[in-house]
């Protein structure tokens, strides 16, 4: 393997607070040197003038759909989409068919990933058997096989006693329980956020309280058990405040937010736009403001895509029949750059929420440019504009409300373990 020398980029490494123009040398799949005017023999040089060089992005939450839904996505296509989006590590959710609730299935995903994925795939195992919420899945065996957390994502663990036991059982495993917080009764039949937009469209609404109630319950259970709880895709102002208070009390709590919940309001659903149908639903501007505030004050640790690819027909139907989800890996970074360009979020903080912060939730030596760390790198042009054209997606899922939108900020090169896995040639 040739060494790679990245010259003259703006190197941002949030883990160490580094933000300077310099060079980065990668060797044998590891970061070898970071500094000024590095030179070396027998290398491949990347000119990063006017580009930003940072750790490869770490996604705590995506859906790769394999096994069972290979028409929507596969580990192979999903990993290519991830690489195109600047991601070098993604955690995949277990709501496959069959759901990933036992050791052989985790081994299956690991084996396929080893063979076919161009980046690091870290599976998440189910909390309960078949995601039914009735009995615990084989959590310890899956931990042995390398899962990085447990989640019934897509479904809320309805029974608080099961959730309590799952948290207790997770304690010796050291892994977080990741909850899709949406109270089932309050969200029943809901299609979008409850409010005047849902009323105007005649759609059944999901109140913000459905999320808040669920978050509150789980924080209380995490406090009771001492377990690690990670709240997936926070979407409401109320949930942000509950998490903030929980962290203040010392609950072992982390949280993520998605790019679409930071960028879009419920009004995107107007016209019965199925591309804007997502769970939890898009909310309001005051929720967005609270989510950004939560990112800035550390209440929300990470940004995760909740990449949820679907086939064309899954979305080309009545709103009430349409699948929930957005294919997000390839647009996540550019969508998030809106926050930077509008002055709401400093660039190093955005990168932190995509790199070292999620990596620390995984407790893995990732998301950093320290010498000796895996050579996982994203290189992007912060000011290049491009128009989202789903025909160019690497993902099989072309379902995105950002189609046709012009975004500013483009991933140019993604390096995983010292190998270039994506190069933008436009």
């Amino acid at each position: 393997m040739k060494d790679i020398l990245i010259k003259n980029g703006r190197i941002i490494n949030p883990a160490t607070g580094t933000d300077e123009i310099g060079d980065l040398l990668l060797s044998n799949g590891r970061i070898k040197q970071l500094g000024q005017n590095i030179s070396c023999q027998n290398n491949e040089t990347i000119d990063a003038t006017s580009l930003v060089v940072c750790p490869g992005f770490v996604d705590l939450h995506c859906h790769l759909r394999q096994p069972g839904f290979e028409a929507k996505e596969t580990i192979s296509s999903g990993s290519k989409a991830a690489a195109k989006g600047g991601f070098t590590t993604v955690c995949c959710m277990p709501n496959t068919n069959p759901p990933l609730d036992n050791l052989p299935l985790i081994t299956y995903v690991n084996t396929i990933a080893e063979k076919e994925a161009s980046i690091r795939i870290l599976p998440i195992g189910c909390i309960t058997r078949a995601r039914k919420g009735d009995e615990l899945a084989d959590m310890a065996a899956m931990a042995q096989a390398g899962v990085v957390g447990f989640s019934d994502d897509g479904s809320y663990v309805k029974n608080p006693q099961i959730m309590r036991r799952a948290m207790e059982y997770s304690l010796p495993l050291g892994l977080p329980v990741i909850e899709h917080c949406e109270d089932t009764a309050l969200a029943a039949d809901g299609q979008m956020n409850e409010g005047i937009v849902a009323t105007a469209l005649g759609l059944c609404g999901i109140p913000a309280a459905a999320e808040d109630v669920a978050v509150a319950r789980d924080i209380i259970l995490a406090e009771l058990t001492g377990a690690r709880l990670h709240i997936a895709h926070v979407s409401t102002k109320g949930a942000v405040e509950l998490i903030r208070q929980g962290k203040k009390r010392g609950v072992r709590l982390t949280a993520e937010v998605t790019p679409h919940h930071l960028a879009l309001t419920e009004e995107r659903v107007l016209g019965f736009n199925t591309q804007a149908k997502v769970a939890p639903p898009l909310r309001t501007q005051s929720d967005i403001d609270a989510l950004i505030e939560g990112l800035i004050d550390g209440t929300i640790d990470a940004i995760a895509t909740d990449h949820a690819p679907h086939t064309i027909n899954d979305k080309l139907c009545e709103f009430g029949s349409a699948a929930c989800g957005i294919s997000g890996l390839e647009t996540a970074f550019a969508v998030l750059m809106k926050l930077v360009h509008s002055g709401k979020l400093p660039l190093p903080m955005l990168i932190a929420k995509l790199t070292n912060e999620p990596a620390s939730i995984l407790r893995m030596r990732l998301g950093s440019l320290e010498v000796g760390a895996p050579a996982d790198i994203a290189i992007f042009a912060p000011d290049i504009e491009w128009t989202v054209d789903t025909a160019n997606f690497a993902s099989k899922g072309h379902n995105t409300p950002f189609a046709g939108e012009t975004l500013k900020g483009k991933v140019r090169t993604t390096i995983y373990s010292g190998q270039i896995v994506y190069q933008d040639n436009e």
Partner: protein
Amino acid sequence: MNNLLALDISAWQHRHILDIQDFSADEINLVMLTADIMSKHMSGPIKKTGSLRGKTIVTLFYEASTRTRGSFELAAKNLGADVVNMTVQSSSVSKGESLINTLNTLESIGADMIVMRHHLSGAHYSAVPFMRANLINAGDGWHAHPTQALLDLYTIRQHLGSAQGLKTVIIGDIRHSRVAHSNIWCLSKMGARVVLCAPPTLLPAGLDNTHNLFPKVEVEYNISNALVDADVVMELRLQKERMRGDLLPGLDEFIYGYQLNAARLALAKPHVIVMHPGPVNEDVEMATDVLHSPRAVVTNQVTNGVAVRMAILQLLSIG
């Protein structure tokens, strides 16, 4: 029908009828004037015109309906069109065909216009980008029932001249009512004051008038307060099939709080008209004596429905 030629149809913008909120006041007035002509024609010796002769109109109903479907069918036949009624049970829909494919199939067998009722809000919106035939919404989920709102407005005009400045009170299960939703849009657009009267569990969310995405409405939980000086009262059918146990303790409570009876109606203006989209649950949302009083215009609504739907079909065919 010669009068039709004298109408200025330049205001007409619609190829499909999905909703009432995208109608301009001018378009609504054009529908009213066209319906006047249709109404006059129907009261003559020969109801039928030939203006839609050679056109094929398909009604496709995913939900049971007697009057709306019958009204559309008669309207189409009065205009000389051929009508094919498709029900979900007898079509391939039950075999899992997508809505778009179903509608395209109906176009392929020669449908020029399709009148569709669907149980899911916005179903028509998902199909319309792929359609050549005119699509007419005969009711979708909780969302809209545009021809009902138009025939209700027509009935109000007939009895009270215009909707401008009238106090209109809509009572009952507003949350699940596409009739209420379309009437709120239509009446607001035509200058009426809209008061909604229901228990909080039967009202839709977000009616705080802080948003420009929905007309300004007044909410009054107490039926007596709501009825004071009302010009128009619309009682809605209590949709038992949509009711869940958490919305109302029971029928008796609803009758106690929200039934329109003669004593309550006496609070309204003397010229008040009482409307109902039908079918009426007699002695549930409306007491029998009110339904059969001279104030009730429920049968006029049904009659007007045919004229208004003829107007819509006619305008779509020339627009």
